[in-house]
């Protein structure tokens, strides 16, 4: 969304005020990628540990 108001003052803020860099959709996408990637890495580490235990 970015800064939704005309002037650079909190006085005008009244509704949604998400104002950081990037869109909401972008950050949702980033966090989804973090979740999926961490599960993949976790599964690889875990299976490696089980394989070592078998040997």
């Amino acid at each position: 969304m970015g800064w939704p108001f005309d002037e650079a003052s909190w006085n005008a803020a009244s509704g949604a005020y998400y104002s950081a860099v990037g869109s909401e959709l972008l950050w949702v996408g980033v966090s989804v990628v973090i979740c999926i990637a961490s599960m993949v890495v976790g599964a690889l580490h875990e299976n490696d540990a089980y394989r070592k235990a078998e040997n």
């Binding site: 969304m1 009244s14 949604a16 998400y18 959709l25 599960m39 540990a49």
Partner: protein
């Protein structure tokens, strides 16, 4: 004179604005506080599971529980919250009679909507979402204890997401939401979520346990069961007590605060169905159910594990009707729940199911008992806000339909998804890892670096 009237009117308007602001802040703070209280449930489940594990698996059990919580939060943000608002009328995604459901209405619950982030015009969505997220995490924790000491972490996390961010949420949409078809058509009443949280999670665990199988050493070749003891029963008992502390937050979050645009009433508390209630009623009935559960379990087993589990079971037994019970009645219903818990768990064990902490029994079986108790003892009351004849009433048939639906919403996804995970090798740890212990296999630190002897048999 006119000036004085105008001044008075201005003062009244200012006071009214302040009263509204105070009410909004109270409502926001009320639900905000339910969130840390429900986090105590997870502290309890963490202690409960780690204590119930053998010392070779203590930290692995803890890691599993922590990760369930961690993945539940974002996934409930991505789609769980949307499911609750979109699905009340079934899978058609159409709005219900109260018109606060369906795909179009639920658009506010998508994570990229204006309500799903900082918004000075919305003091409620975030705190409601937080409370619901903690309900979701509770379902994952319930399931987590049953499968300790032999499930893979990532497989478990996938199952926890299916349960916490979808299966129970569908149950909540159908049986909790004012537009829910179980509520509208069958008068289903489940105020404290005995069915839609506890039974769904308990029977989800059962579906997984069938595919996961028992721990090595649990059953002998002739089918008789060995007792696999908790490595730290006092820790488990304290964990159970923490869960009960957290239940106050859980049940507090089931109440609708008065005086807001989204409230049922301007001047009194209500259930999620819009039926009137008080926190006073909750206080009476939670404590009486809790006491009944402990006493019921004590009558049957004398075992402190089952006594504390009975306390939990007592509250779950009363949960669906906590808003309507007479307190002594709540104690009697809790007593029955506490008394049947250990024998019901034994029946399950005799069927070859290794439920390490009794989750299927305490949450599944007693959750169903809690739902049915409303049908048996509190039939004939309006299930929603409205005049007699205009809204569905509670009935034993409606509660039975709800109980069957909650069983299926838990068991079917639990069984199907765990079967798929089993087929792709993501469900159970290897035999060598299980015998050696999961802490030594995959955890980089030790729970007890000094003073505890290593296991010598598979059942240890």
């Amino acid at each position: 004179m006119e000036e004085q009237v105008a001044e008075l009117m201005a003062k009244v308007a200012a006071l009214e604005a302040k009263a509204n602001t105070t009410n909004t802040m109270f409502a926001e703070t009320y639900y905000y506080l339910t969130i840390p209280l429900m986090v105590i449930i997870h502290a309890g489940f963490l202690a409960y599971e780690m204590g119930a594990s053998r010392h070779k698996n203590v930290l692995a059990s803890g890691i599993k529980n922590i990760l369930a919580f961690a993945f539940m939060v974002p996934t409930f943000y991505y789609f769980g919250w949307w499911v609750y608002w979109a699905f009340p009328t079934g899978f058609s995604l159409t709005p219900g009679p109260v018109e606060i459901s369906g795909a179009e209405y639920a658009a506010f619950a998508w994570p990229w909507s204006e309500s799903a982030g900082p918004n000075l015009a919305d003091n409620s969505t975030g705190v409601f979402w937080g409370a619901f997220t903690l309900f979701a995490a509770t379902t994952a924790s319930i399931f987590s204890g049953a499968v300790i000491e032999r499930i893979q972490v990532v497989g478990f996390v996938i199952l926890a997401i299916v349960l916490g961010s979808f299966a129970w949420v569908v149950g909540a949409a159908w049986g909790w939401h004012a537009d829910g078809w179980l509520v509208q058509d069958w008068g289903y009443h489940d105020f404290g979520a005995a069915g839609l949280v506890h039974a769904v999670a308990g029977f989800f665990a059962l579906g997984v346990l069938i595919n996961l199988g028992p721990r090595i050493g649990k059953f002998n070749p002739d089918g008789t069961a060995n007792h696999i003891g908790a490595h730290n029963l006092p820790f488990t008992l304290v964990g159970l007590m923490l869960i009960i502390v957290g239940f106050w937050g859980f049940l507090m979050a089931c109440v609708i605060v008065p005086g807001e645009a989204w409230s049922w009433y301007g001047d009194k508390w209500a259930t999620i169905y819009g039926t009137p209630m008080t926190l006073s009623a909750l206080s009476f009935n939670i404590l009486m159910g809790f006491a009944g559960g402990i006493i019921g379990a004590w009558m049957i087993t004398r075992d402190p594990f089952w006594m504390m589990s009975g306390a939990l079971g007592g509250i779950i037994s009363c949960a669906s009707g906590l808003d309507v019970w007479q307190p002594a009645q709540a104690m009697a219903i809790g007593f029955v729940g506490g008394a049947i818990a250990a024998p019901a768990a034994k029946i399950l064990e005799n069927m070859g199911i290794d439920d390490a902490v009794g989750a299927v029994t305490i949450h599944g079986t007693l959750g169903i008992w809690g739902v049915m108790a409303v049908g048996i003892f509190a039939s004939g009351y309006p299930a929603l806000q409205g005049e007699a004849g205009e809204v569905a009433t509670t009935s034993i048939v409606g509660q039975a339909v709800g109980a069957v639906v909650m069983f299926l919403l838990g068991f079917v996804p639990g069984y199907v998804v765990s079967l798929i995970l089993k087929m792709v090798g993501l469900l159970r740890v290897g035999e060598a890892a299980e015998i050696q212990g999961l802490d030594m296999t995959k955890v980089p630190v030790q729970a007890y670096p000094e003073g505890i002897a290593p296991s010598t048999t598979p059942a240890q």
